[in-house]
């Protein structure tokens, strides 16, 4: 009996159809609608038909964006956020992964502990960190105990424009450590053990082994983590929503958060869609990098 794939050239498409339909319905069609909306003023609910709510205004939304100082501020905040979050998310999980990558049952609880923040709901994370960052919270207590010369008075970390974005970045890094650690752990466990044994026989110290063996082997994983964390940083929303709501004085308003404000607070769906197009372009660059990187890794 012939297999289905041998019977018909359409068979692969049949298998792809369900996923394709779901993706089209929930991703591609809304994305295409957003493209249209970015050239329109959308009067929500003014018509039963979706496009009936559109009043075509050409490039007006993009022109308004070009003259909107808050857009530039949000763009700057997005890049500061990305630059502040990605390096720690590339380096720290690798260190954690190396530490817990031992064939020792005692490491289990540590792996769980590091991964736990990934699965804690973001609302809970927000509540906990708001208390930690409070003026009488643990962060100020520890800071003043350890660095009294630096932290003379307790700071309202989330209420100062100078510290709010940094405080959100710390939470993003804390929450993401476990996820990226798991990617590194997978990479570490693919390194043949015998090369470490050879290095050991050659008299290489543990530090030298990591410097000259682990790191070169982990470069592909590091690249992957860097690109994924860049994309996630550009799309970051939940942390900002639960911790600062973009404030104070827009100090933590990133492009995604600004898009949300325009869409769901000001109900400017057209302008928000235009912001979405800019965000889409930025994310696309990293997505291509990711794909190119994945292709190269597959060929290697």
């Amino acid at each position: 009996m012939k297999r289905l794939s041998q019977q018909s050239p359409w068979a692969p498409f049949l298998f792809l159809a369900p996923a394709g339909a779901i993706l089209s319905l929930f991703w591609f069609l809304p994305a295409i609608m957003a493209v249209f909306a970015s050239f329109a003023q959308v009067n929500l609910g003014s018509s039963r038909h979706f496009f009936g709510q559109f009043k075509w205004i050409g490039l007006d939304n993009y022109v308004a964006m070009a003259h909107d100082p808050l857009f530039y501020k949000s763009l700057l905040n997005s890049w500061i956020y990305l630059i502040g979050v990605v390096p720690p998310l590339v380096v720290l999980p690798l260190i954690l992964a190396i530490l817990v990558n031992r064939p020792n049952r005692a490491m289990g609880p540590f792996r769980v502990a590091y991964y736990l923040p990934v699965v804690i709901p973001i609302v809970v994370v927000g509540l906990v960190w708001k208390w930690l960052y409070a003026e009488n919270g643990l962060v100020n207590f520890v800071g003043q105990s350890l660095f009294p010369w630096l932290l003379r008075h307790p700071l309202p970390w989330l209420s100062l424009p100078e510290t709010a974005l940094g405080a959100v970045m710390v939470v993003t890094v804390w929450k993401g450590l476990g996820y990226y650690m798991m990617i590194y752990l997978a990479g570490l466990q693919a390194i043949p053990r015998d090369i470490y044994e050879s290095a050991d026989l050659d008299g290489a110290s543990p530090l030298q082994q990591h410097r000259y063996l682990t790191l070169p082997y982990m470069v592909p994983s590091m690249g992957l983590v860097a690109i994924i964390s860049c994309i996630n940083a550009l799309k970051a929303f939940a942390e900002i929503w639960v911790l600062t709501k973009g404030g104070p004085l827009d100090a933590s308003t990133t492009t995604v958060y600004y898009l949300y404000q325009q869409a769901f607070e000001n109900l400017n769906m057209g302008y928000a869609s235009a912001l979405g197009m800019v965000l889409f372009a930025m994310t696309l660059v990293f997505s291509f990098l990711n794909k190119g990187y994945g292709d190269r890794a597959a060929m290697a």
């Binding site: 929930f26 809304p30 929500l44 609910g45 003014s46 989330l158 709501k245 004085l249 109900l267």
Partner: protein
């Protein structure tokens, strides 16, 4: 409804498959966070409506308070909106400004309009048009942590913010603040200015009117509370829920809130609940008392506006509102229900909720809508809050910040 469902509905709308009833008349009614506490009340009210209106069926959908705005946006944009929705006036104004809500002005007779408190009806208006039916009301009462009050050696609770601020040093000595105002992302700052008798707009509603000696004095007072350290700077970004949390953890001595939040304290801080007191709303120099309104709105694209309006009027009639008020710590928007002895009678074993209800209902008669609906209200609120933050964080003087806010309002009000 998930985002996915919203997308699906959008596509159904695109393909001309928006929901239609196949037989009879049907009203879909959305409420905000009333299940399960008030399930019995809502179901019996809707059953009574259906009995009075043969051929009309009502589907009740209860939506969490935090999700109702997003879900309403999804529904109206996808052409599948409910017929009647319970929203707050702020969001109603924003939706109404996009043409998404029906103008009910012509549908309501003078008699019907006269049933409601004028301030409640004003809260549900936009540019002189009535875009919603007022449902239930709330006026803030002062909920006092008596243990903190005793510990600080204090006696009576002042009825105005200046008196309360004067007690700050004694409360600070025991690690507490007098009160935490809701300045995070709300309209409360505008209400605080209005409580001091500061007009927000000129009578023609086209220009800001707050940059005056009275306005500057009020603004300076509130900014001074932060720059002097009387209130912590983190209070600049706290929302109402967080302010209740701080009160429950003993960080503030007085909580300004609707009586309905006593239940939250009872459930989450039972020890504190046993030692609470209630008093009138802490106010400003004008003696004005504010009122909060919840309303029922009818989306423009609803299936049957007349049945939806009939249902809104039925739910908000005196009898039904009184029954609802007896279950929840709220006040009615119709005068006939508010006149019921229930609101003024206290039994020998009156609970703190009963006392709060009496305080709130007494205030209701002299309450006013402190911040009338304004065009571009969200942008105006944001501009004022940001000016306040700049001043409170020391980036600008209070006077400069208020002047900047007035310039921003002028620009916003001039925009189409």
């Amino acid at each position: 409804m998930t985002k996915g469902t919203a997308c699906l509905l959008a596509i159904l709308a695109l393909t001309g498959c928006a929901h239609e009833t196949t037989s009879g008349r049907h009203v879909e009614f959305w409420t905000m966070a009333l299940k399960p506490t008030f399930t019995g009340y809502i179901q019996s009210t809707l059953a009574a409506f259906e009995k009075q209106h043969p051929g009309v069926t009502v589907t009740w959908v209860d939506v969490p308070g935090s999700a109702i705005e997003d879900k309403t946006i999804s529904a109206v944009s996808s052409g599948t909106s409910p017929d009647l929705v319970n929203l707050n006036p702020d969001f109603s104004q924003r939706l109404g400004s996009k043409g998404a809500l029906l103008d009910l002005t012509a549908s309501l007779s003078a008699d019907v309009k006269a049933r409601y408190f004028p301030s409640a009806l004003e809260a549900t208006s936009l540019d002189g048009k009535i875009i919603g039916i007022p449902w239930y009301l709330s006026t803030q009462v002062s909920i006092v942590n008596r243990a903190l009050w005793r510990k600080a050696g204090l006696d009576r609770v002042p009825t105005d913010y200046r008196g309360l601020a004067a007690l700050a040093p004694r409360l600070k000595a025991i690690g507490a603040v007098p009160v935490l105002p809701n300045l995070g992302d709300s309209i409360h700052l505008l209400e605080l200015l209005a409580m001091d008798g500061v007009p927000l707009l000129t009578p023609d509603r086209r220009h800001p009117a707050f940059d005056t000696p009275v306005g500057r004095k009020s603004f300076r007072f509130w900014v001074g509370l932060f720059t002097s350290g009387t209130l912590p700077k983190e209070a600049l970004s706290l929302d109402h829920r967080e302010i209740i949390d701080r009160f429950m953890s003993g960080q503030s001595a007085v909580l300004g809130s609707g009586p309905q939040f006593l239940k939250t304290i009872r459930d989450n801080a039972p020890q504190l609940y046993k030692d609470l007191d209630v008093g009138p709303q802490v106010g400003g120099t004008s003696g004005r008392v504010g009122v909060s309104v919840m309303n029922l709105v009818i989306p423009t694209i609803c299936n049957d506006p007349q049945d939806a309006l009939d249902l809104a009027l039925f739910i908000t009639n005196g009898e039904n509102q009184l029954a609802f008020c007896k279950l929840a710590g709220i006040l009615p928007s119709v005068k006939s229900a508010a006149a019921d002895p229930f609101f003024q009678t206290l039994g020998a074993t009156a609970s703190i909720e009963d006392r709060a209800r009496k305080v709130a209902s007494t205030q209701l008669l002299r309450s006013a809508l402190l911040v009338p609906p304004m065009p571009h209200q969200n942008d105006l609120k944001r501009a004022m809050n940001e000016a306040f933050q700049r001043a409170a964080l020391g980036q600008q003087s209070a006077d400069e910040a208020l002047k900047q806010a007035a310039a921003d309002w002028e620009r916003i009000l001039a925009s189409p």
